[in-house]
């Protein structure tokens, strides 16, 4: 919190970001109240969750998926779409 941010004279006008890909630096994972948890034994690797995830926060592994918690906002779409109920939303503990 003690980071000193630049003043209005030294930032680009109009809120323009000069470098692409800055969203990667903004970790939205701490927004979530519910954490999707994948039961890797149940997961059939159908990748419906990977398709539906609005934040591209599903990682594809060889035989199953897991969740990138740095960016997952906990919306629960993956759990809702999973045809084999391999994903459960559990309360996020901080």
């Amino acid at each position: 919190m003690s980071e000193v941010k630049p003043g209005w004279k030294s930032i680009p006008i109009g809120g323009i970001l000069l470098e692409p890909g800055s969203a990667m630096k903004y970790k939205t994972g701490d927004w979530k109240a519910l954490r999707p948890t994948v039961d890797q034994k149940k997961c059939t690797n159908c990748l419906l969750c990977w398709i539906y995830c609005p934040d591209a926060a599903i990682n594809r592994l060889e035989n199953f998926v897991n969740v990138n918690y740095d960016y997952c906002k906990g919306c629960g779409i993956c759990a809702n779409e999973c045809p084999v109920k391999a994903i459960t939303m559990v309360e996020e503990k901080r």
Binding site: P6, W8, I11, I13, G14, G15, I16, L17, L18, P20
Partner: protein, 392 residues
């Protein structure tokens, strides 16, 4: 060299846009602005301009398309009025926030309800805090001249702000006058191609319109304040350069008879023409009256107005819009704040007039001058807010 054309206010703006080599026009028709873009669409149809004309489904879309086009580095124009400007409202802030140097013609018209198509300043005053440079032209010649200058002001790298050029709906928009126009090559020379600073381009990707939370938003707004401040100097230099080309000198304000006036009227747009004519008549009878007409309303020309009222004893501020529930009309509030800021003890009263196109006659103006003269003499303002020409 000088060429005079018979043009209505709307046509004068369309002709100025034609000579400004505009890349994109996106607009939706609305009375009393329609002819601005209708006349321009004929230039497009006839191949007289190379402009991309985007027919959109609403003013909200018009300004959205303008913002997108402007961000690619294009020179962009649109026009609207009244409900159309109100529908554009949220996009006006986006245009200024993203620093898009769009020029917009506005034929000022009353806002509903009740529905009314005639001229008053409620529309632009309703959006006065949108971060745009706001110019009010008195007549067709001024409308033509300001549009050409507006592009140069807007696109200056020190400014990069949108500009609205306002004309009084019907009174100016539909009246035909002789307008002295530039030759196309003269206009092109004065207004060279836009040199954009930061644009969206596949070769050099940038992000525009990203989320900006409490840690940066305020800084962006502070930059906009500075850009309007910087625009003073740019407006000054552009108007000087325009005078060298045309002989017509524009500035932040125009004054008439203010050198020795004791009582003055300050007002925007076409009413200033009536006021000057009445002042001329009264001055010939020995009455010391004068007129101040701000051409530029935003940024507010505080110093110029303070200089102009130096010898004045009483000032009537005429507002063609009503700030309901506020102590005074918009222009009047700005004037009173400015006088207070500069420690100027000038007696002021505010007249709200002409709503919904209600005519303001020379005798109305004469009454205001006489009241101001009385205030100058007695140093007493009996009624600080009055409504001129309304039936009791």
């Amino acid at each position: 060299m000088s060429r005079i054309m018979g043009l209505t206010g709307n046509e004068a703006i369309a002709y100025a846009v034609k000579q400004s080599n505009v890349d994109v026009v996106a607009a939706y028709p609305i009375t009393p602005q329609t002819i601005m873009v209708e006349a321009f669409s004929e230039y497009v149809h006839n191949g007289e301009v190379l402009t991309e004309f985007v027919c959109v489904e609403s003013e909200h879309s018009a300004m959205s398309a303008c913002v997108g086009a402007s961000l690619t580095g294009a020179r962009v124009f649109t026009a609207t009025a009244s409900q159309g400007l109100a529908l554009m409202h949220e996009m006006l802030y986006i245009a200024s926030g993203l620093r898009c140097p769009i020029v917009m013609g506005v034929a000022n018209r009353a806002l509903s309800a009740p529905i009314n198509i005639h001229g008053d300043h409620s529309d632009m005053m309703g959006s006065r805090d949108c971060g745009w440079i706001q110019i009010y032209a008195e007549n067709n010649q001024e409308a033509y001249d300001w549009v050409i200058q507006a592009f140069k002001i807007a696109e200056d790298p020190k400014v990069l702000l949108p500009v609205s050029v306002n004309i009084d709906g019907f009174i100016v928009s539909f009246s035909m006058e002789g307008v002295e126009v530039l030759e196309d090559d003269e206009a092109s020379k004065f207004l060279s191609m836009r040199k954009p600073v930061l644009t969206i381009s596949p070769d050099n990707p940038i992000t525009v319109g990203a989320l900006c939370l409490p840690d940066y938003y305020f800084e962006m707004k502070r930059q906009q304040v500075e850009a309007l401040k910087e625009s003073y100097e740019v407006i000054e230099s552009v108007t000087r350069e325009y005078k060298a080309l045309t002989g017509r000198r524009y500035s932040f304000i125009e004054t008439y008879g203010m050198e020795n006036a004791e009582a003055g009227i300050i007002c925007l747009g076409s009413t200033a023409g009536t006021a000057k004519a009445v002042a001329k008549n009264l001055r010939s009878k020995g009455k010391k009256v004068g007129v101040i007409k701000p051409w530029v309303y935003r940024p507010f020309p505080a110093e110029e107005i303070i200089r102009a009222v130096d010898n004045l004893k009483a000032l009537a501020v005429l507002d063609r819009s009503c700030s309901f529930g506020a102590p005074y009309g918009a222009l009047s509030s700005d004037i009173i704040a400015t006088l207070y800021q500069y420690g100027k003890d000038l007696k002021v009263f505010n007249g709200i007039y002409g709503l919904g196109g209600r005519d303001i006659t020379p005798s109305d103006i004469e009454t205001v001058f006489n009241e101001a003269l009385k205030v100058a003499e007695t140093r007493l303002v009996k009624e600080s807010l009055k409504f001129i020409g309304v039936r009791e």
